[in-house]
């Protein structure tokens, strides 16, 4: 059975796209925080926990919200929604902040709320908490975007019947460099409505690489 991408979101400096269409753009920002905060506010999600997340989690969280907004999550078994995300910088952005807080013995004040984000899969946890998702999940680290790795891993989960659907993609951030591509993958298009069928793309290494390249 061939899987399809039924919704996707792309975020890069200055621009947010959903299913290929520009959702938000702002070229006048300097920092990631300056870019993401107004966009988050414009979504009116009413989720103050967002402000406590580290930048990597904020990026993944917003990309996931944009994807899930295109779907009716209630139509899926939340114990069977998988999440597989990869990046190259792991949680280094937050690791550096934590390291700085413990490098000086006389100013030794590590922040618990920083420390909890010194693992990249915490971002997946934030997405799961938000939507009560309890399916299989994995965070993969690779030197650069690897469409083959993602499609192989996710397809294996489908083949082993461990998941019904999957949120997958790439969420990478280090200081002011950031990029996110998240896709929702489903096993076929016969149950989709006409609009979803129109958007649906094959979940193949080629398509995934293309979506990343045209970000």
């Amino acid at each position: 059975m061939e899987q399809v991408i039924s919704a996707y979101a792309q975020i890069k400096p200055g621009q947010v796209r959903v299913n290929g269409r520009i959702e938000y753009s702002d070229e006048n920002f300097i920092t990631f925080a300056e870019f993401i905060k107004p966009f988050f506010k414009s979504l009116n999600l009413g989720y103050p926990k967002f402000y406590k997340m580290d930048p990597l989690s904020k990026l993944g969280f917003i990309a996931s919200e944009l994807v899930f907004k295109q779907l009716n999550l209630d139509s899926y078994d939340r114990k069977r929604v998988g999440i597989v995300i990869a990046n190259s910088s792991s949680s280094l952005d937050t690791d550096i902040i934590h390291q700085q807080s413990i490098s000086n013995r006389s100013e030794y004040f590590p922040s618990p709320s920083v420390f909890v984000y010194t693992l990249p899969n915490i971002m997946i946890g934030e997405i799961c908490i938000r939507h009560q998702l309890r399916g299989e999940n994995a965070f993969l680290i690779s030197e650069r975007f690897d469409g083959r790795l993602l499609t192989k891993y996710v397809n294996e989960l489908f083949q082993q019947n461990r998941i019904d659907v999957c949120l997958t993609g790439w969420v990478d951030l280090l200081k002011e460099d950031f990029e996110a591509l998240l896709m929702f993958v489903e096993p076929g298009i016969w149950e989709m409505n006409a609009e979803a069928r129109e958007i649906a793309l094959p979940f193949s290494e080629k398509t995934v690489n293309e979506l990343y390249t045209i970000m």
């Binding site: 103050p48 402000y51 406590k52 004040f109 590590p110 922040s111 618990p112 709320s113 909890v116």
Partner: protein, 85 residues
Amino acid sequence: MEELIEKLKKEVIEQLNLEDISPEDIEADSPLFGEGLGLDSIDALELIVLLEKNYGLKIEDPKDGKKIFHSIRTMAEYITEHQTA
């Protein structure tokens, strides 16, 4: 005491990243946890760090935390009592 309460409100907002909350939104006697500001266990740890970093106060017995961090006023009382002790 009132001056310290106002200062603490600002520090708590900053330390806990309470983005949509202003000092005026926090009642000095309202509970910080549970129904109050809805803080969680990580926030509790951040408040312990705040006391140590900004006021040089270490909470020796974790059981005291519940009482000290009940509200902004109880935090202020603890600081006043222990800094002048």
